[in-house]
Amino acid sequence: MASTARVEHPPAEPPLVGPGHTFASVGDKISSIVLTTRTPLGWFLGFGVAFSMFVMLLATISYLVLKGIGIWGNNIPVAWGFDIINFVWWIGIGHAGTLISAILLLLRQRWRTSINRFAEAMTLFAVACAALFPIFHMGRPWVGAYWLLPYPNTMRVWPNFRSPLIWDVFAVSTYATVSALFWFVGLIPDLATLRDRAQSRAARVVYGMLAMGWRGSARHWSNYETAYLLLAALSTPLVLSVHSVVSFDFAAAQVPGWHATIFPPYFVAGAIYAGFAMVLTLAIPLRKLYGLEDFITMRHIENMAKVMLATSLVVAYGYLTEAFMAWYSGSPYERFMMWNRMTGPLSWSYWMLILCNVVVINTLWVKRLRTNVPYLFLVSLVVSVGMWLERFVIIVTSLHRDFLPSSWGTYRGTPFDYSMFLGTIGLFLTLFFLFIRFLPAISIFEMRTILPGAKLDEEKA
């Protein structure tokens, strides 16, 4: 009877952890990346390249502050250029971290466990890169702080709360703070593991101080788990609000191509899409470099590819709606905007965007391609390019041809625009390399909870 009943069960899901792992081996494997004295050569190479790019960022910013934002390409009519494109691009990438750690936690998607820690780190670093652009768009940020933050200044000037730009400041700074808190809280038990395993005195002291005396007490776990769950519940609406508010920066304006009600959901989907692409871009080399295939399994890789594919469909729907509404609105300006996007001087960017975000991504319907890791890595890079182009199209093609032909212009990024953009990629990778070297890149204690040994067999007990 039992043997015939088994046929009706669906095939078992592949395990989330490679075979043969125990509570000790999981912790030892992950913490050995941090506590080892031998850092792989690949780390030094990667860090070296990233750090050089970061130095380029510092040089660009120094020159920017010295000369003013005239060294950038944005001017009237395209007053928002690379700075806002890159801001939205980075913020979007940051969304996957919170999505994985908060929304997938609430949905009990246990496969999130091995990727949430570094996705959260990625979020933090991406938000830090994003914040640089609006801050330095002010030219001299220490003078312009009263535009962003409501603080009592000698001029008694305050921000306008009816403007989406101040909402954006609140949304992004809250997002950065909450992401940092979420990340640090998740780290506490693992920092205690590092403290207990560290050989050198310096490591014991530093990790010990960061762990704050964590000892795995049941009373502490009770408070901890509740706080962690509540943070996830708070982050869920927060992550949806952030990119919605970013999209209000555009949607509340009257520029054709910006003034659209589809923007908030379309931006949020795009953010998740771009974020998962970046998680894959980071996860694929990481698991290879450190031999983490037991923890970041093919099932994880494939799940991420599927999320990326699903969100790409929402994004494609957004493109379709934009085109449809331009026609259906009956507004000649909207119709011209769309026609100009598709056939105007910058039409290459629109068709490249369609190629990256609509054509290439749909090859992932094929399981053989989806599970081909080098191909998936390539697709994740294509998606990052596509999402950058999406913001380029929205911002530049809408601004360079607005209502009055007499105010038309064109836009081109200057070398400083490019060095600042590449520089933030350097900052992002520098922080990421430091993170995987000094902190556990995978959550040790959460990995233990999904081991087969953690399941209590009550009959046996």
């Binding site: 809250t174 207990d196 009770s222």
Partner: protein
């Protein structure tokens, strides 16, 4: 007080199921000043020791309400009282516009309350705790499971409690120095 000079008695287990069973028996035997130490959160241990009451949600709710009030008050005070700007004759008290910043401060204050409330309720940062005096306790963050009956428990008796713990089948029972 037969437990003078020590923090308590600690039993070490190899398997999570053994700890859960031991925790149930410790609770059934009437010990209340008990704590378990595990390398990952275990719902069953919380059940066994009846530790599900936590004040974290109340702290978070308070933080969230404070954040809502603070965000709303800031937007209202600036827009209506301190710096009213007439933009196309639109009302100063544009309450729909205040929803977004007030929502963000609600989440911000609630999250800060969750983290710092949790740390405070756990008594962190805590530079010293007696359980670390047991050398084997370093494995509590790795793959071993501990239960400690503290000497402050009215039922605690150095010899009798040790015998009781030994009967639960641990790999070791050790005294935890103060």
């Amino acid at each position: 007080m037969s437990g003078a000079g020590i923090h308590g008695l600690m039993a070490e287990f190899k398997a999570p199921a053994d700890l859960v069973r031991a925790a149930r028996e410790v609770h059934a035997a009437g010990y209340r000043k008990v704590d378990a130490y595990t390398p990952y959160p275990m719902e069953e241990v919380l059940d066994a020791l009846h530790l599900h009451r936590t004040r974290v949600p109340l702290v978070v709710l308070t933080g969230g309400l404070l954040g809502l009030a603070a965000g709303w008050a800031l937007a209202y005070w600036i827009s209506v009282i301190e710096f009213p700007m007439n933009i196309g004759g639109r009302p100063y008290n544009a309450w729909p516009a205040f929803v977004v910043p007030a929502f963000e401060t609600t989440v911000l204050f609630a999250a800060l309350a969750a983290v710092f409330g949790m740390l405070a309720l756990n008594g962190f940062p805590q530079p010293y705790h007696p359980v670390f005096n047991v050398p084997a306790f370093a494995t509590a963050s790795r793959d071993r499971f501990f239960i400690c009956i503290e000497s402050g428990d009215p039922k605690f008796d150095r010899a009798a409690t040790r015998d009781f713990l030994k009967a639960l089948g641990p790999t070791a029972v050790e005294e935890v120095p103060e």
